[in-house]
Amino acid sequence: MIICFWNVNKNKSLDNLILELVQENKIDILALAEYDNDTEQLCKLLDQRETRYKPLQCIGCDKIKGIYNSKYTQKPLKATSRYIISTFSTVYSKLLLGAIHGPAMPRKSDDDRRQYYSIYIHDIEQAESESGINNTILIGDFNSSPFDGSIVRAGAIHAIPHKEEASKNSRIVDGHNYKTFYNPTWKLLALDKPPYGTYYYNNSNYENYYWYLFDQVIVRPGLINSFQEDSLRIITEINDKSLLKNDYSPDIAYSDHLPIIFEIQEEKL
């Protein structure tokens, strides 16, 4: 199963490029943030090809839309304005997928996001408990970096960069047991050539990171074996069309964010 996430920055003229993105990469689930067009229409355009797609059911969610390969079955479990939580049935097993567009800077600080993500994780854990599924994948534009407290802290997302530590499944802090996630996205922070993130923002502040890795995938430890580490990458080209400008920052003629993509090996679920 190939999953892709892209914040398309409300660009209404991207549908053809999105179609090419889906076809070129054989994407099974495409979650989009800031997508203002009609996903029904996107599916109709895609159905002219060999694979049939359905719109993601995102009732009540303004920030996330998407499409998925109709060979899977989506069952929505929870929605708020900013996220959806659904199960996907595969031939082998079931997955729980949370897709989110987190509150953005500068209006919301990382402390704000930490609070927000504590509610999100409570919803995720409730969905895991009610569905009996612990193969959970979180994707989205978190508006936080992998090293920010809102992503790493127990009580927030609690996404750890090391497989071995995450694989302990939980951690006790001040007497409270917090379940862990593994965040494979850290590896995209250490690339040897640009892009060094999915979002670029150069400023004249004393602290300037230039590149931000806001778009991430985070998984429960039980998915570490089926998560294809080598498949995780930032997409910079779609059918030979570069999503980057000459200075390697995202070309906002397409979007100010770059897509991320990865594969889950279903037979290892």
């Binding site: 009540g60 929605a79 304005s81 609070q115 509610i119 409570h122």
Partner: protein, 169 residues
């Protein structure tokens, strides 16, 4: 020794609990949608505040009085009633769209409602709203339930149910 109480307790049945006021509207929604769209208010044990600087109502109320955080903070989490109000439907019983959290203590007012972000914007309110009495709660509830977002969600779920009925499920 004879009783030192100089009053008898009143059975004030007219005083409704905030959750019961919401529950009445759940019943109205069921009537309105022929039992297809379901509103539920259920106890909730997770975090509810989406902003670290928002104080809980009890804490905010306490701050207006003489208050020692060392002595009082432990008591604040006790005797709290926190609920989640969500919308579901007959044909999507496992799906929940959260409309708001409701949090109150003893007495019930002031209470805090933590609203869905889009609904808050649509009705020009902050996410965290304090209601000081039943009238304020009813007025806020009316605005929330008639927001465009609520209409969208209810219409979407109602449409799914009608389609399922037509499909013979």
């Amino acid at each position: 020794m004879s009783s030192l109480f100089d009053f008898t307790p009143e059975n004030n049945e007219e005083l409704k609990q905030p959750k019961d006021i919401v529950k009445e509207q759940c019943d109205e929604l069921a009537k309105l949608t022929h039992d297809y769209v379901i509103g539920k208010i259920e106890p909730y044990d997770g975090p509810i505040r989406n902003h670290p600087s928002h104080l809980s109502v009890s804490l905010a109320a306490s701050l207006t009085q003489s208050f020692n955080v060392q002595n009082e903070l432990g008591d604040i989490s006790e005797n709290r009633f926190t609920y989640e109000f969500f919308i579901s439907s007959k044909y999507t019983p496992n799906f929940k769209y959260r409309v708001f959290f409701l949090d109150y203590g003893i007495p019930c007012y002031p209470l805090e409602m933590v609203l869905d972000e889009t609904i808050a914007k649509q009705i020009n309110m902050d996410y965290n709203v304090i209601c000081n009495n039943e009238e304020e709660l009813s007025a806020l509830l009316k605005r929330v339930l008639n927001s465009d977002k609520m209409k969208d969600v209810i219409n979407s779920l109602f449409t799914i149910c009608i389609q399922e009925v037509k499909n013979g499920f």
